[in-house]
């Protein structure tokens, strides 16, 4: 079986979730080819070999630096055909998920997003996907010969299995009509750890009392090399940017460690964090519902506990 993996880069670096997509494909026991669209660094591209891709197709066309979903889906559908790929694997993201859906239609493939585990091929081909905002899973059979799978974080374990991959140029013919959306400008937090990919997240809620107190959240995040998040009211009030809000209507995170400070633990917030491996809750109210969903809890005032915790983290380094 040939599998094509779409690799996303951010600021020149390959996204960790794209490496997980390579590992996912490799774990399916297949021959794995990765594909990178637009300007990219050669060493970075070779490094996907470590996770099991033998070859990297590089479509090095500056027009692909504008990440137009329609354009990307046409290129990937063509690449699946050229490479005789039965399956396309990629990471769920604001770019990857819609691209995957379109490729599935173009190639008449069965499609699943939010896939949480390796497929089960004991009878047919079934994937486990997260539904009801992480409150349940569905086992979905992908019936068509071709398949497109968008995985979520931690669907596959990152294991080094190989050396460098061979990077080969891949020439593309772009269709003007596919440039059907135009990005006029963007605002992006640079250098920060992206919340959806973070291994540790420190989140603050309304209990933080105001944006001027976020320094102690950021100090702890910095000490832990963590991303910062927040509850919905915090972003609604403009204390923090919208893309930091975690939950049912925000970002769904899946870190190793989620630390919630001054967040009550409403079910809509929990929906965004229930895939975390370990949850720590700091709240001054011992009856806060979040404690029921936590692994570790501290009842206390955030303004006293957080600085002490940051110190303890730094001291333990």
């Amino acid at each position: 079986m040939n599998i094509l993996v779409f690799i996303e880069t951010a600021e020149g670096k390959i996204r960790k979730t794209s490496l997980e997509a390579v590992a996912y494909a490799k774990a399916m026991g297949a021959s794995v080819t990765a594909i990178v669209l637009g300007t990219a660094d050669n060493n970075e591209m070779q490094s996907v070999g470590k996770y099991g891709a033998t070859k990297v197709l590089h479509a090095n066309d500056a027009k692909l630096d504008q990440q137009v979903i329609q354009v990307y889906s046409s290129v990937l559908a063509k690449a699946m055909e050229d490479e005789n790929a039965d399956v396309l694997v990629l990471a769920n993201s604001s770019l990857g998920t819609p691209v995957a859906a379109k490729v599935a239609i173009k190639t008449k493939a069965s499609f699943a997003s939010n896939v949480a585990e390796l497929p089960n091929t004991s009878s047919g081909f079934t994937v486990k996907r997260s539904i009801y905002t992480g409150k349940a899973f569905a086992h979905v059979e992908l019936k068509n010969a071709k398949k497109v799978i968008a995985i979520r974080k931690n669907a596959a374990e990152l294991k080094e299995v190989g050396g460098n991959a061979q990077v080969v140029g891949y020439s593309v013919t772009l269709n003007d009509a596919d440039f059907n959306t135009k990005t006029v400008s963007h605002e992006k937090a640079t250098g920060d750890i992206l919340l959806p990919e973070a291994e540790i997240v420190v989140s603050g809620g309304r209990g933080m009392k105001g944006p001027e107190h976020w320094g102690i959240i950021e100090d702890l995040a910095k000490a832990l090399h963590a991303a910062t998040g927040c509850s919905k009211p915090v972003s609604d009030m403009g204390w923090r940017p919208h893309h930091e809000h975690v939950g049912q209507t925000g970002v769904k995170v899946a870190p190793q460690l989620y630390i919630a400070v001054g967040i009550s633990g409403a079910i809509q917030h929990l929906a965004g964090v229930n895939s975390s491996k370990c949850i720590v809750v700091i709240n001054k109210d011992a009856d806060a519902p979040f404690f029921k969903a936590a692994d570790y809890g501290i009842v206390g005032d955030a303004f006293e506990v957080l600085p002490k915790l940051t110190q303890a983290v730094l001291a333990a380094k």
Binding site: S73, N92, S94, T97, P98, V99, A101, K102, A104, I105, A109, S110, S113, N114, I131, Y132, K135, A136, F137, A138, H139, V140, E141, L142, K143, N180, T181, K182, T183, S185, H186, E187, K188, A189, L195, E197, I200, L224, H242, H243, T249, L257, Q268, A271, K277, C278, V280, F291, K292, A293, A294, D295, Y296, G297, I298, E304, K308, L309, A312, A316
Partner: protein, 243 residues
């Protein structure tokens, strides 16, 4: 301008999720169904556009007869008429195929960023692909300027200003508009607004839901004294092994 708003009929966000029939069916006992929260934003923006520039708003749902209260609620919020495609919404490809069948001729097709039951986040992209028109999601701001849509789209860690020509599919999220609550007049008039029921078109079934599963229950929380936060760090290292 003609606007189509596609709404799903989903369990309220506070619902407890459970399954019956050997984990093959969602347990609807005591579950309250609502318009998907993201679609509530889409609908609110559509009604705003109707008020500001005289658009017509049609709502569409792929669902069985039990979704009609949800459709009537959308009419009460301000949509003019409705279409229900009479079928179980089994998967995103199926739903997108049904929507694409009825979406031709609309200038703007608004959806939610994702449904909160299946969370695929793809029906908008699929409908765009099927109709050969642009799709953008998640859209936080949407303005129409002649034949062009100007949008703010959220991306990981930031946002982008995006433009595309109409017709267009957009997957919406806050703060595109404030949710609208139906008023008495809206509720009264919704009863008589046209709701057309159509049968689904035959589509090949490319995926099948086999069965469902709940996540493993969490163990009891371990409490640590606020006077001893160093112990938390130690436990995270040695016990939970996450540091």
């Amino acid at each position: 301008m003609k606007i189509l708003v596609c709404v799903s009929h989903v369990p309220d966000t506070t619902s407890k999720i459970a399954f019956v029939d050997n984990n093959t069916k969602f347990d609807t006992t005591a579950v309250q169904f609502i318009i998907g929260p993201y679609e509530d934003y889409a609908l609110a923006r559509a009604v705003e556009l109707k008020e500001s520039s005289g658009a017509t708003v049609t709502v569409l749902n792929v669902g069985l007869a039990d979704t009609e209260p949800t459709i009537r609620k959308a009419l009460a919020i301000g949509a003019d008429d409705a279409i229900r495609v009479n079928s179980e919404p089994t998967d995103s490809f199926f739903v997108a195929s049904q929507i694409a069948e009825h979406a031709k001729g609309y200038d703007l097709i608004l959806m939610g960023r994702e449904s909160i039951d299946f969370n695929s986040g793809v029906v908008h992209a699929m409908v765009g692909e099927m109709l050969g028109i642009p799709s953008v999601s998640p859209v936080m701001k949407l303005d129409i300027d002649g034949t062009k849509a100007k949008m703010t789209k959220e991306i990981e860690g930031g946002k982008e200003q995006v433009e595309a020509n109409l017709p267009l599919v957009a997957g919406c999220q806050e703060p595109i508009a404030e949710w609208k609550i139906p008023n008495m007049r809206g509720i009264m008039s919704a009863r008589t607004k046209p709701l057309k029921v159509v049968e689904p078109k035959a589509t090949e079934q490319s995926v099948a839901n086999k069965n469902f599963e709940l996540p493993a229950p969490k163990g009891a929380v371990k409490m640590i004294s606020a006077d001893n936060v160093a112990e938390l760090v130690t436990r995270l290292k040695t016990e939970a092994k996450v540091l």
